[in-house]
Symmetry: C2
Subunit: 503 residues, 2 copies
């Protein structure tokens, strides 16, 4: 009686594990049947050339899990307790896989869903990549962060090992409440704030409270993908409302009750326009009249290049209609996964429970470090520093564009980390420009490529490109735009020609 085992050595899988798994497999597949005797550990160890202890430990484990049983001074046998029909059903390969492709959908009952583009869809390295929403990597305050993180880590107590308040570290919530008053004109307190894992987690929190199948989600047209796709995944009816040079046209808001309206009033995504005061008031009036909520995504409001930042819509809200989403992904970095939601009082309690149910809150160490960074004044200093940097980069982009493309028009360049560029008339449509540019190693993006949903199928909407400037040095910007001009001057066939010339 010997077992047909094949051991590999050396192997990352230990010998004991290999024996265990192979014997188990023989039992599960019915090649060893209930009651069948197994070799003694001594003969197994001789057969395989392994230590008797290894064989004994593998048997112990098989016995502990109920596959085999040892009868004292008689021997070791495959367990009689394993019901044969169960074995077969569990291991028959013919039951499930054939039906799986259809099945996933059927089980879920969910419609197919889409997710937002986060990283450059073009795998290869570009000479200059105007991808949106990327902070300057060199500006992250590494040394200060290291100092603060170490101090918190070494005095952590039980903060790393235990669950904490899922709505977030009180120090951080307080620091945020203290900051949004002077910078965003929002009068709030730590109790109304919930720390989230970036804007997207915040959008989910709000959606799980307010969006149900068949409910109405108003979005800007064009709109950030992460919001539109999410509402769609919850079965909402999406109502896009056009954006013009004063932002979302509130005269075209739908006449439905209990809706949610997702807006980016400070710097519309992707077009960059600022919602006018008249429109802001109109939007608030609509929410009050229709019993709806407004979800204000204030993703890059800290980068206003002239004058003070425009006050948040939330600061105008007197009727508890506005939910405010803030993020640290733009001022510090998306790698931190930290943001916050400021809620109307009536939603706070439900939101805290929902945040618990969703993910028990965010990691402690990064919250604590950020709280210290804010309270020390380091954060404000950092924001001022990178605002200046982005201002220079924006200026570099504006002057390169006007130098090489005198007939173009930029929109939304008073603020933010990107601008929208309306192509000069003589150039091909934006989608064509994008593909020609990518071919030549320059990343420029249409609205749809730049993580926006473009509801407008007209030719006019294919005249826009979004250009992120915050992570590119001035020199890179100049080279990128000049190269883009070369490519477009040469026309569609040139890149291929130049390629074959090289090849």
């Amino acid at each position: 009686m010997s077992l047909p085992l094949k051991l590999q050595s050396p192997s990352p899988i230990g010998l004991q594990t290999q024996i265990f798994e192979q014997v188990r497999e023989m039992i599960l597949q019915g090649r060893l049947r209930p009651g069948e005797p197994l070799p003694a550990t001594r003969s197994l160890s001789e057969q395989l050339g392994i230590s008797r202890n290894t064989a004994a430990l593998a048997y112990e484990r098989l016995a502990a899990e109920g596959y085999i049983e040892t009868r004292h001074s008689v021997g070791t046998f495959v367990s009689m307790q394993i019901p044969e029909h169960a074995l077969h059903a569990a291991t028959r390969k013919d039951i499930a896989p054939a039906r799986t492709a259809r099945r996933t959908k059927a089980v879920s009952g969910h419609r197919d869903f889409r997710s937002q583009a986060l990283v450059n869809p073009h795998g290869r390295r570009l000479v200059a990549d105007f991808w949106v929403g990327r902070p300057d990597p060199d500006s992250f305050p590494r040394k200060t962060w290291a100092r603060l993180i170490l101090r918190r880590l070494l005095s952590a107590g039980s903060a790393l090992t235990e669950y904490r308040d899922p709505s977030g570290l009180i120090d951080l919530r307080q620091a945020i409440a203290d900051r949004v008053r002077p910078t965003r004109n929002i009068a709030t307190n730590a109790d109304e704030i919930i720390i989230v894992g970036g804007c997207q987690d915040g959008l989910n929190l709000v959606s799980r409270l307010l969006v149900t199948p068949g409910s109405t989600a108003v979005v800007e047209s064009p709109c950030y993908q992460g919001a539109a796709f999410l509402f769609e995944s919850f079965g909402a009816t999406i109502v896009p409302v056009p954006v013009d040079d004063r932002g979302l046209d509130c005269r075209r808001l739908p006449d439905v009750r209990n809706a949610i309206a997702y807006v980016t009033p400070s710097h519309q995504y992707p077009l960059g326009v600022t919602l006018s005061l008249e429109r802001r008031l109109g939007l608030l009036a609509w929410a009050a009249e229709t019993n709806s909520y407004i979800l204000e995504d204030d993703y890059d409001s800290d980068f206003r290049f002239h004058g003070a930042p425009i006050a948040a819509l939330k600061g105008l809200d007197r009727t508890g209609r506005v939910i405010y989403l803030g993020t640290f992904s733009k001022c510090l970095g998306a790698g931190l996964r930290l943001g916050y939601v400021i809620l109307p009082p009536e939603l706070v309690e439900r939101a805290r429970h929902m945040k618990t149910l969703m993910n028990n809150g965010q990691p402690w160490l990064e919250q604590a470090t950020l709280a210290d960074f804010m309270q020390s004044g380091g954060y404000e200093h950092h924001v001022r520093r990178i605002r200046k940097l982005y201002f220079s980069r924006r200026n570099a982009l504006l002057s390169s564009l006007s130098e090489h493309f005198p007939g173009g028009e930029t929109i939304g360049d008073e603020a933010g980390m990107h601008l929208a560029w309306r192509l000069p008339r003589h150039l091909p449509p934006a989608s064509k420009v994008e593909s020609l540019a990518i071919e030549a190693g320059i990343g420029v993006y249409t609205l749809a490529s730049g993580a926006a949903v473009n509801f407008d199928a007209s030719a006019e909407s294919d005249r826009f490109l979004v250009l992120g400037f915050s992570s590119l040095k001035e020199r890179e910007i100049a080279i990128g735009i000049s190269k883009l001009a070369d490519v477009l001057a040469k026309g569609p066939t040139s890149p291929r020609r130049s390629k074959s010339a090289r090849g």
Copy 2:
């Protein structure tokens, strides 16, 4: 013409902001009407005793946001562009608040939901607190973690500033794939793993893919609250299946198709029993026959005190029915908010998209640090060290219990961070024992208090307490149980008596 402004100084709110907000408020409330003139900055500065520059900046901001307009060499006026009806609608306080309490529910359409208990519900400091699921705070490898985190932080490149693969850092997914083979007998690869923000985020990920209103969610009875409440919040029909000393009784699984079954086979939560091999096979057979998925929550499988850990159910799955949830909350700490889901191949793509839609993935720095900790062997060493520590603590608890309560019975003590204790017959029901103990400063918990849902309303189910031992020193355990014995020996009225004696 002067404005009735009241400035506070010193104040955390700057003077410019105070002027801006107060003038804005007067305009929004109609106390200053469209077209009405405002004082010149010079007279405003004199009136308020502030610098002219401060007054000018406040006006600039009001003008930038469209509240006022300056007509050259004529003066400054409240903007004519603000539609009066909008002002009124946006600021009328009578519209919304009165209806809000009812309204939240109506808008959401969601049933009321509950969330799991995470922290000790008793605010006050206890002498000994046997709360569940808490790792030993002193054992967190602070110094190693500090060294690794610093190295990653200082060489972070753009990892902190940019979005990354939402399914998680490849280094960490690889380290997990490498580990679950020898420790859990799961053959997988990095592509099938998604890093999540702890088990709860993983439960949400799976639920958003597979749980819909009216679908069936099988749970163990009793069951972890975080799972049952979550399925409930998605509108699932909860089917509790009783757990006995061999785990979930698979003969009582419901005869429905396309269900999901949430189980804790290694160490049932809260009872601590291990699912027998026969039952495991039965459960897999049920899933194959009914076209259902099994969600295996393997929360504390690393702490088995005798022999090797029991192999995961996922390792037995030949038909792609088992989704595996692992967490670092128990081995390292809940403050990290890191866990992982191992998916059947057919669900991977949808799950990646859903993770993106949910929260764009977890923070980079903690993932990177953990990956290094695992790859260096430090993690395995840490697990061995705390397993020994918890073994001693468990032993201390067992010997204290048998010393003071000879008639009791412990369940699920071969593994984990807590055990279930069936009270000796002479003691009052568990809920009574809990309240007497808490009164005396000792935290012991019924199934329902200990973050479990107890579907069984029989008197027998109120004979169990859960006792977490992993975060208490042996001395604290001995004192806690001895004090508990004192309290229970004295009977129900004693604590009050001893209190008044002190007072």
